[in-house]
């Protein structure tokens, strides 16, 4: 199986790229640390190294790049899964409404409680409530009927709309001096407040979901043929779809909880992998995860190094993602013409 070993070779290449990005993310910044020194600190625990550098790496940059890697891998895989489930190459995690729900939970916590842990908890809880709302709205029909996909997308649009209105309402009543700027900034997405606790919160949520999506890779390929065909092949459509959506929802809610709303990753990365490497279902999701992790570390590193002030991550993923996607769309368009 030559083609097979080829796609795994690409995975090895992506892993190397991810390591490079990690190293770059750890060494670049206002307080530059040479890559050699970074490796030294990571491997030896910082014995005899510059104590400031050790502190910067361990307390600031390491949690930040790890969180970027987790969220990048998560959002990219979630996007790839939704594209299969919804049979639509334009699907991305925000489509499900979970992102809006989590955003609402976050800003509500900011309004009523305080910044920090309450926001994380609020976003996670409301994100998952939004997911339940989508399942409930789509109804039991979504489990078995041919129109399940359409119902789920419609439910996602409804939930998304309601929570987006909720976010606007919170902004309206927030104190324009202190709260509103914080809310607006948080909504733009940022990894600036990354710390060990957030990594430890995101790790099980996103890690488990990624493992589940990887396990479902064959079912996801079957579902991309449509519900009717998948069912005739003996796929238990309702169950597979429920598990995949639960994983996507958990990834999305956890991401918004720890870093605000970051878009475009789930759209751009799977397409980059499809174009650049291929779609062999055995390695595709792994490649998407590795690619997503590397991509978000890279963008986050850019966000804190290209300008005097940090550019919010969500702004930069959109700023980079949109033109990149426009380029991909042109190539997809050409591919569709035959």
């Amino acid at each position: 199986m030559g083609a097979h070993s080829q796609t795994w070779r690409a995975s090895a290449g992506l892993l190397a790229l991810l390591c490079l990005c990690l190293l770059a993310g750890l060494s670049l910044g206002r307080y530059a640390i040479a890559p050699g020194q970074v490796a030294d600190i990571l491997l030896s625990g910082g014995n005899g190294a510059d104590p400031v550098a050790v502190r910067v790496i361990e307390a600031v940059r390491l949690p930040r790049v790890l969180l970027a890697a987790l969220i990048g891998a998560g959002l990219a895989a979630a996007g790839a899964a939704l594209q299969s489930l919804f049979r639509n190459p334009l699907a991305e995690p925000q489509l499900l409404g979970v992102s809006s729900g989590a955003a609402f939970g976050g800003v509500l916590a900011m309004l009523l409680l305080s910044d920090g842990p309450p926001v994380v908890a609020g976003a996670l809880i409301w994100g998952l409530l939004a997911l339940l709302a989508v399942f409930w709205l789509a109804g039991s029909q979504a489990a078995g009927r041919t129109s399940g996909t359409v119902l789920l997308i419609l439910a996602g649009i409804v939930v998304s709309g309601v929570f987006a209105a909720g976010v606007s309402l919170v902004k309206l009543v927030a104190d324009p001096q202190n709260q509103l700027p914080a809310i607006v900034f948080w909504l733009m997405g940022s990894l600036a407040s990354a710390n060990q606790e957030r990594v430890l919160l995101a790790l099980p949520c996103i890690g488990l979901s990624l493992a589940l999506l990887y396990g479902l890779r064959f079912q996801l390929m079957a579902l991309s043929l449509g519900e009717e065909d998948a069912r005739s092949l003996g796929i238990r459509v309702g169950r597979a779809r429920f598990l995949a959506l639960a994983a996507v929802g958990l990834i999305t809610a956890a991401s918004v909880a720890v870093c605000g709303v970051v878009g475009w990753v789930g759209l751009v990365v799977p397409h980059l992998v499809r174009m650049g490497i291929g779609t062999d279902h055995r390695s595709f999701l792994v490649n998407v995860m590795l690619g997503g992790a590397a991509y978000l570390i890279l963008v986050d590193t850019l966000s804190r190094t290209v300008a005097e002030v940090e550019i919010p991550l969500g702004v930069l993923t959109a700023l980079l993602g949109a033109p990149l996607f426009a380029f991909l769309v042109r190539r997809i368009g050409r591919g569709l013409e035959h």
Partner: protein, 262 residues
């Protein structure tokens, strides 16, 4: 028929209509197929052939009546439109889904079975090609291979020869006859009555969603029945010179609106 035979694929009083619509697409349809039978479903466009097939494989839920299946079913739809790219081999692998768990993945033997199925329809060379980039006929062969890979006891095929050239039509229908001889029950819809006459042990003639005739092709597919079905004069001629049997030949020449409708 007095003797007792084991029914492998059956339907009783099967009916289907779209929700909130009065018109029945399919109505009160019964049939019984024993092990190793090859049944051809014939009928003009839009009489409910595909609906019948989808009901029989469980891809759609009947509005009335029941389906009876004994064994695993392999289904070849008219066409499949993947939203995302996958290779021909992966498409065939999906035929193995019935034996792969929710979190499972195909193993080496599944790959071997998929490749073997592709070879059997003379399409082994297509394995690594992207399915959406294949021609219509190649796609039909790949979908046939997918059903073979399922190692099903029952095969249901929706116009599998529609996009095939004569060679591949003979290949595919010959393959179906061979599978039937091995004990697999086959139900195939077609617009080529000749396929039924040459290969089938049963013929089901559908008209306006109802069973028009059901029985051995030699008996039920007489000139009158075929002319009725297709609203066109059809004559049967003996084929003694070549292979024995008969050929059903449609008479296309007189303008269709000059033919008196039965």
């Amino acid at each position: 028929m007095g003797e007792h035979k084991e029914i492998i694929l059956g339907a009783r009083g099967l009916g289907y209509r779209l929700p909130r619509e009065q018109r029945w697409i399919l109505r009160d349809l019964s049939l019984e197929l024993a092990r190793g039978e090859l049944c051809a479903v014939l009928g003009p466009n839009g009489v409910g052939k595909s609906t019948l097939l989808r009901l029989l494989v469980g891809a759609q839920t009947p509005s009335a009546g029941q389906v009876e299946q004994r064994g695993r079913v392999g289904y070849v739809p008219q066409s499949v439109h993947p939203a995302l790219s996958l290779s021909a081999l992966e498409m065939v692998l999906l035929g193995r889904a019935g034996g792969i768990g929710l979190l499972g993945a195909p193993r080496r033997k599944d790959y071997a079975a998929a490749q073997a199925a592709l070879e059997r329809v003379e399409a082994g060379h297509l394995a690594s090609r992207p399915f959406p980039a294949l021609s219509g006929g190649e796609r039909q062969l790949v979908l046939m291979a997918r059903a073979l890979a399922a190692e099903a006891d029952i095969l249901v095929l929706d116009e599998p020869t529609a996009a095939l050239d004569w060679h591949n039509q003979a290949l595919l229908m010959g393959l179906l006859a061979e599978l039937a001889a091995q004990g697999i029950t086959v139900l195939v819809s077609t617009h080529a009555p000749q396929h039924a006459l040459d290969f089938a042990s049963q013929a089901l003639l559908l008209f306006a969603g109802e069973r028009h005739a059901f029985g051995s092709p030699g008996q039920v597919m007489d000139e009158a029945a075929l002319s009725d079905l297709y609203r066109l004069p059809v004559c049967r001629v003996p084929l003694a010179a070549v292979a024995g049997g008969v050929a059903a030949i449609p008479v296309f020449r007189p303008p269709i609106n000059e033919v008196s409708h039965p």
